[in-house]
């Protein structure tokens, strides 16, 4: 197992290197440059000013030199300073944004598992029943409908029409005056819609996996044997089928980590949540190369880590993989 782990870790290095090289090139191929993007078509920005700003950001050097300089810094875990005019260290910007993104994603992951798995189990157990069909179509409709559209509908209904939930942001204006309990309720109220929205898309996948996996297990001979022994249905389901059916579903947990930051871009922008997704979106719009690269490297690392966790769980469950 240790050899397998080391081998996997070793292969992660060239992978990250490759990802950064491609990302760096692609980002620099996009038209528009930092610093002067807002002032495109501004009469006051002369050619000399543009040259001056280019030199200031080091964009006058050839691309491979820029990449080499970037790589030398990143190896020392220094993501550099942002090209946004605030010139703050990229790592500081990411640090202050990361917690809220992780919180929302953990909550939505919990929602996906707490709601998706029971739906999957129900649909497998009562396959082809009316409720199975209704649930499946509902979950898939949610998966297919654009996130921003559902988000706006819910904001309009719960926020403007019912005035039950806040529309955007993460805290109310009077947050500092609230008691601890009040603060918790306040943040919880702000999180309901974003968490539901970010979780909704994942429900379809998980419930489908759960249903198919359970159906697969229920067809196995040992389940037939269990029934033949006269065990009650709930016992067969709980003791024999579920445990085995859950295994592949749990590995999906590892695989869903990388999607977190990508998915955050949409709902953090819609709900004005100051998280990583919003930072990424704004950095791309401002062509803030160091911040974009910083987020991408962390994203790439999380992707590979997610894959590794998934593979390890598989390996733990199935010895054939460990040996191969």
């Amino acid at each position: 197992m240790l050899r397998y782990l080391l081998k996997r870790l070793f292969f992660m290095v060239p992978m990250i290197f490759g990802i950064t090289l491609i990302s760096f090139t692609v980002i620099h191929l996009v038209p528009g440059e930092p610093g002067v993007l807002d002032s495109e078509m501004n009469p006051k920005v002369t050619k000399q000013v543009r040259e001056r700003i280019r030199a200031f950001y080091g964009l006058d050097k050839p691309l491979h030199v820029q990449y080499w300089m970037w790589l030398k810094r990143v190896v020392k875990l220094d993501f550099g300073t942002s090209f946004a005019p605030d010139r703050r260290p990229v790592i500081d910007k990411i640090k202050e944004r990361l917690p809220v993104t992780i919180l929302i994603n953990l909550l939505s992951m919990a929602l996906i598992f707490l709601v998706g798995i029971p739906i999957g189990i129900y649909c497998a157990r009562y396959k082809d029943s009316i409720l199975d069909k209704v649930l499946t179509s509902f979950v898939f409709a949610g998966y297919a409908a654009p996130t921003f559209w559902i988000a706006l509908l819910l904001m309009m209904f719960f926020g403007v029409y019912l005035e039950l939930l806040p529309i955007s942001g993460i805290k109310s204006f009077n947050f500092s005056e609230l008691s601890f309990f009040g603060k918790t309720i306040d943040v919880a109220k702000h999180l309901i819609l974003p968490v539901c929205i970010s979780g909704f898309g994942g429900l379809a996948g998980i419930s489908r996996y759960m249903k198919n996996s359970l159906l697969e297990v229920l067809r196995q001979e040992y389940i037939t044997t269990a029934y033949a022994k006269g065990l009650p249905e709930s016992m067969v389901l709980k003791k024999h089928a579920l445990r085995n059916a859950l295994l592949p579903v749990i590995t999906i947990l590892g695989l869903s980590i990388p999607g977190l930051i990508g998915g955050s871009v949409i709902f953090e922008s819609i709900f004005s949540i100051p998280g990583m997704g919003q930072l990424f979106y704004m950095s791309v719009m401002a062509r803030d190369y160091p911040t974009i690269m910083g987020i991408l490297v962390i994203g790439a690392f999380l992707t590979l880590l997610g894959n590794l966790i998934a593979d390890i769980s598989y390996a733990l469950a199935d010895p054939r993989i460990r040996i191969g």
Partner: protein
């Protein structure tokens, strides 16, 4: 698992807290008396980037720094130039130098007095080649800047330069906090210290920026105690927040202004304002491209576009027909220029004169080749895309085939406009009340990244622009610019489409708002909320 009872309890708790948010019971019709207090909540699509205005180009940063800093001069409600930090100024007889006499009772937010040395420092740091600023151009024309005494500052130019005076509306920076340091890494980028009506208080990245009233402001303490700018990157969310009373003021799209806010509850809570904005939208022709070299073709297209239909159909009436590069609320505007009222017949006659004949398929042809061209538009701007569609339809009626290509902003500018790789484009210019059209219309401004990208050349226009630029005599400038607009109208290098209205909703509890040529915010320090209509407590929205 939660029990059924606890689930019901949680739901009830949310209902209870939700209901406690109900607003809208106060009547805001009573004008009340001016009183200090309350907070105004604004929203911005993008986050401010840098609160040293010299270093930022985005509107969110400038909106905030505009309240924190002062210039030497500013525009008043009728767009006259008046003193801000300057008490008065003299322009020398030869027009070469301006001597500013500064106000003596002004202090920086940290308590240090403001002097002429701060102005000199601001000038020096702006023209310093190490400062990555977009605003050096006007100051590079300065020959000499000098401090005569603590409260007198003189600046001398090589040639009289008419836009010079208003260029000193630039934000003056505190010398005592910046001199000898690298401005690009200064803490003032995040925590500005100015002389303005509002003092910087807090910046929660990605979320909000808060300013508080400067109690010692030299023009008097602002009535509104606090100013908050929230970052709401999605415009649909921003509109929902306005309807939910999460923000107090917002610019509205025509449909929002006329239809989506026309319900009693909204009218009870918000005032809506409408005034001519300082910008115009146009269809610009590449004058180096075959058919557009001919003035008659350009004029024909201007006749063939129904501007009224564009304003009524797309802006829902919230705009005026454009006649040239100045807006009607500017002193330099000349309304008596050639107008192109919609006329298919005139268009066809001009095209015939230019050698275009209708073929058997009803399409215009010259020497056998059909008349067709592509209009470029930037993505995300629905108004411009819809304009392109209406123009396409109108031109197809006279036999011209128009294709529309929608491009992302940066690629439109970098790949097509800068490389002159376009036939026609729909864009808009935001303009300044100071009318100098040098950068857009002078023939010398056709280089890479310069703004005369349609390649307009006209000797008389060049002369008029230069003459107007080098005199301070308003009457003379008006004459020069009047003629300039006549030539532009005749030459039709752009088909001028419309001047849009700015349409804004402001919460009714704010009193003292007087829409004027300068917009709404020029007298912001005089806005107030009567005591009985106040919404926010003194320390609302601040972090603990």
């Amino acid at each position: 698992m939660l029990s059924r009872q606890s689930l019901i309890f949680i739901l009830l708790a949310f209902l209870f807290f939700g209901c406690s948010q109900q607003k809208g019971t106060t009547s805001y019709d009573d004008p009340g008396k001016p009183a200090y207090g309350d907070m105004i909540v604004m929203a911005s699509i993008g986050e401010a980037s840098n609160l040293i205005p010299l270093l930022s180009t985005d509107s969110a940063s400038h909106e905030i720094s505009g309240l924190v800093y002062n210039g030497l001069v500013k525009y008043d409600k009728d767009l006259n130039i008046v003193g801000d930090l300057a008490k008065s100024w003299e322009i020398s007889k030869d027009g070469l130098s301006i001597t500013f006499r500064l106000k003596k009772d002004v202090r920086w937010h940290d308590g240090k007095p403001f002097t002429a040395h701060d102005v000199l420092y601001t000038y020096k740091v702006t023209v310093d080649p190490r400062t990555p600023t977009a605003y050096a151009a006007d100051f590079q024309l300065v020959k000499k800047a000098e401090v005569l005494d603590d409260y007198t500052f003189r600046v001398t130019y090589n040639k009289p330069f008419a836009p010079a005076l208003i260029s000193w509306a630039t934000a003056i920076m505190p010398k005592h906090l910046l001199e000898g340091k690298d401005i690009t890494t200064s803490p003032l980028i995040r925590k500005p210290v100015g002389t303005g009506p509002f003092v910087f208080k807090e910046w929660v990245p990605g979320d909000r920026i808060i300013l508080t009233a400067n109690k010692d402001y030299f023009e008097g303490r602002p009535y509104i105690d606090r100013y908050m700018m929230r970052i709401i990157p999605d415009s649909a969310t921003m509109f929902l927040e306005l309807k939910h009373y999460g923000i107090d003021m917002m610019g509205l799209a025509p449909l929002q202004f006329l239809k989506q806010t026309e319900y009693p509850r909204f009218k009870q809570e918000y005032n809506k304002f409408k005034y001519l904005a300082f910008n115009y939208t146009y269809l610009g022709f590449n004058l180096k491209h075959g058919p557009f070299k001919d003035k008659r073709v350009r004029q024909a297209i201007s006749y063939a576009i129904n501007k009224k239909e564009i304003i009524d159909g797309i802006l829902l009436g919230l705009g005026e027909e454009a006649t040239g590069p100045f807006t009607p609320n500017m002193w330099a505007y000349n309304g008596n220029v050639k107008r192109y009222r919609y006329s298919k017949e005139k268009a066809l006659a001009l095209l015939k004169e230019a050698g275009y004949e209708k073929g058997p398929d009803d399409m215009l042809k010259k020497n056998g080749s059909p008349f067709e061209f592509t209009i470029l538009v930037n993505q995300g701007n629905t108004v411009r895309i819809q304009c392109a569609e209406l123009i396409q339809r109108r031109l197809s009626e006279i036999g011209i085939t128009v294709k529309i290509r929608v491009l992302e902003w940066a690629s439109l500018i970098n790949e097509f406009i800068d490389k002159r790789n376009f036939e026609a484009v729909i864009l808009g210019w935001s303009i300044n009340p100071e009318p100098d059209p040098y950068d857009i219309w002078h023939s010398s401004k056709q280089g890479l990244k310069e703004l005369n990208f349609i390649s307009f050349e006209n000797k008389e226009v060049d002369e008029l622009i230069i003459k107007a630029r080098h005199t301070f005599d308003r009457a003379k400038r008006e004459r020069y610019y009047g003629r300039f607009q006549e030539i532009i109208a005749e030459e039709a290098p752009y088909a001028f489409l419309f001047y849009p209205y700015a349409t804004v909703a402001v919460h009714k509890r704010f009193k003292g708002i007087e829409p004027a040529a300068a917009g709404l915010m020029y007298n912001f320090i005089k806005w107030y909320v009567p005591e009985n209509q106040r919404r926010y407590k003194a320390d609302a929205a601040l972090s603990p």
